[in-house]
């Protein structure tokens, strides 16, 4: 569904991505793990068109999307739940969700999707009139995911959904990621919490200082000695 080949990105004078290639097949959860500054977020930001690439190719459904403006990429069916949630704090929960569906014109199915998001996250329904800035961190993460889903994406990009959340909430978020995937959506997940991510991922890539150094199924990576040492905190 998404195919990245030999992607080079310079970010503030730094060669942030040094020719990465990865493949996200349809209906799978793919994860990209790595330490801080490895280039994970840069990868996602390049896919969404927020960062320009120097060289390489990003094909989505066989169409080259590199160089497209960000909003057009969203229209094509790629949505992102950005790092740090980035909800609009001064807008209500409902307005945030409606922004997710901003470019859609099929009003009746937007309503249906809104119900679906409320079903996934009942707490958002309770707080739909509340300003998003007043929500707790976990609720804001739910809102960020729900908002991304409102664009009815074929591919959902998630940037560190567990960041700053209590372990119980992390578990809840990851369960929902799985549920969304089971309903047929493809997910590219970026995580520092490598263990949790690899557990639910079908396939994973390990990114280190702008290069992919390892790849394999979630299980393979979980059992890999290097991964264990570097990312899972096991000796």
């Amino acid at each position: 569904m998404l195919k990245i080949e030999d992607l080079h990105v310079f970010y503030g004078g730094i060669h942030a991505l040094k020719g990465i290639s990865l493949h996200v097949p349809k209906s799978k959860i793919i994860t990209l793990i790595g330490a801080n500054g490895a280039g994970k977020s840069t990868t996602l930001r390049t896919i969404t068109g927020l960062v320009k690439a120097k060289k390489g190719s990003i094909k989505f459904l066989d169409e080259e999307i590199l160089g497209y403006p960000a909003h057009k990429i969203v229209h094509m069916g790629i949505a992102m739940a950005p790092e740090g949630r980035k909800v609009f704090p001064n807008l209500s929960v409902l307005e945030n969700l409606k922004l997710g569906a901003y470019f859609r014109t099929d009003e009746s199915s937007i309503e249906k999707d809104l119900d679906w998001v409320y079903e996934l996250f009942p707490r958002l329904k309770e707080r739909k009139k509340q300003k998003a800035g007043t929500l707790s961190g976990g609720e804001q993460q739910m809102l960020a995911v729900g908002r991304a889903l409102m664009s009815k994406p074929d591919l959902l990009l998630m940037d560190e959904p567990s960041l700053g959340l209590a372990p119980l909430l992390v578990k809840e978020i990851f369960e929902i990621v799985q549920q969304i995937n089971e309903e047929g959506r493809t997910i590219l997940l970026i995580e520092q919490n490598a263990k949790a991510a690899l557990k639910i991922a079908h396939y994973g890539y390990v990114l280190e200082t702008g290069r992919i150094i390892l790849e394999g199924t979630g299980q393979e990576l979980l059992n890999n000695e290097d991964v264990k040492k570097a990312y899972l905190g096991e000796a």
Binding site: T48, A70, H71, V74, M80, P82, L91, L99, Y102, S151
Partner: protein, 297 residues
């Protein structure tokens, strides 16, 4: 001061405040989205007045049609100014855009001098605006009353767009966080153009009403109303549409009342407005309704 003259002054103040508000909103909306003080805004106001002037003079359009034509053309000019002068600097340091705005302002003023000529031109005031109406002994010019009605109509329209439509939601999203707004599939360039169009269109309404009030126009007429409206926008909290509205009315009423209560200070009327600006910047730099905004890099 008698009851009648108090209300007479109050109605003048409200009407002047409405005009300030119309202009201030354009400043505030553009600032809200681009963090740019569009110093050319007062000159856009001037162009609005001239377009209506020529609409009535050359094409003999009725006043209301001239107003509508002026709104549309001025809105279009606003978009062109953004595309031509500000858009190439979107990723440049903000000081560059600010200096450019001052440059655009000088350019429009001098272009006006060349094209329209420096001599003030009498602006036609339609009869319906030229009557004296008396309400309970308070005598006011019908223009004062109608100008407030027209202002109110456009403000209601504006608030409807900003708070009740999808485009308005997009505008509020872009002004909060431009990058995340892009991730929502919002075409940010389009929203910026719409913002310039709305702000410039409202300035045109202000320009035409202002021209009927005085009733003459010249290419430099935008400078002072522009500065006053800028003060109003800062007073209310720049970036906030409601704040611009509040600031406009407060400044208009305060100015008129100053002159009414202390006629000996009437020569300091403009200085008084700047005093308000200095005070608000000292005491509450975010303005009355403003919230602290994160500076965009």
């Amino acid at each position: 001061m008698s009851w009648e003259s108090f209300f007479q002054n109050l109605s003048n103040g409200i009407s002047l405040g409405g005009l300030y508000a119309l202009i201030a909103i354009g400043y505030s909306m553009v600032y809200g989205i681009l963090r740019l003080i569009n110093f050319a805004h007062g000159d856009i106001f001037m162009l609005g007045a001239y377009i209506a002037f020529y609409g009535m003079l050359i094409f003999s359009l009725p006043w209301w049609l001239s107003l509508i034509v002026s709104i549309i053309l001025t809105a279009f000019i606003g978009i062109l100014i953004d595309k031509g002068a500000y858009k190439p600097l979107r990723n440049a340091p903000r000081i560059s855009a600010l200096i450019t705005a001052i440059g655009v302002s000088f350019f429009l003023e001098n272009l006006g001098l060349v094209v329209f000529g420096g001599r003030p031109k009498g602006f036609y005031r339609p009869h319906i605006f030229d009557e004296i109406i008396t309400i309970k002994g308070v005598r006011i010019l019908s223009l004062t009353f109608y100008s407030l009605v027209i202002t109110a109509i456009f403000l209601v329209l504006l608030f409807y767009i900003v708070y009740r439509t999808k485009t308005g939601l997009g505008m509020r999203a872009v002004s909060t966080d431009m990058e995340t707004a892009r991730l929502m599939g919002i075409d940010v360039d389009k929203i910026i153009s719409i913002t310039f169009a709305i702000g410039s269109g409202l300035a045109a309404v202000g320009g035409v009403l202002w021209a009927m009030k005085y009733p003459q126009i010249n290419p430099l007429m935008g400078i002072f109303p522009g500065l006053k409206a800028f003060i109003a926008a800062v007073l209310g909290g720049i970036g906030s549409v409601g704040g611009a509205l509040l600031g406009g009315f407060i400044l208009g009423i305060a100015e008129i009342m100053l002159v009414a209560f202390m006629p000996q200070l009437s020569g300091y009327r403009d200085a008084f407005a700047f005093l308000i600006l200095i005070l608000i910047l000292l005491v509450k730099p975010t303005g009355l309704l403003g919230v602290e905004v994160k500076e965009k890099a």
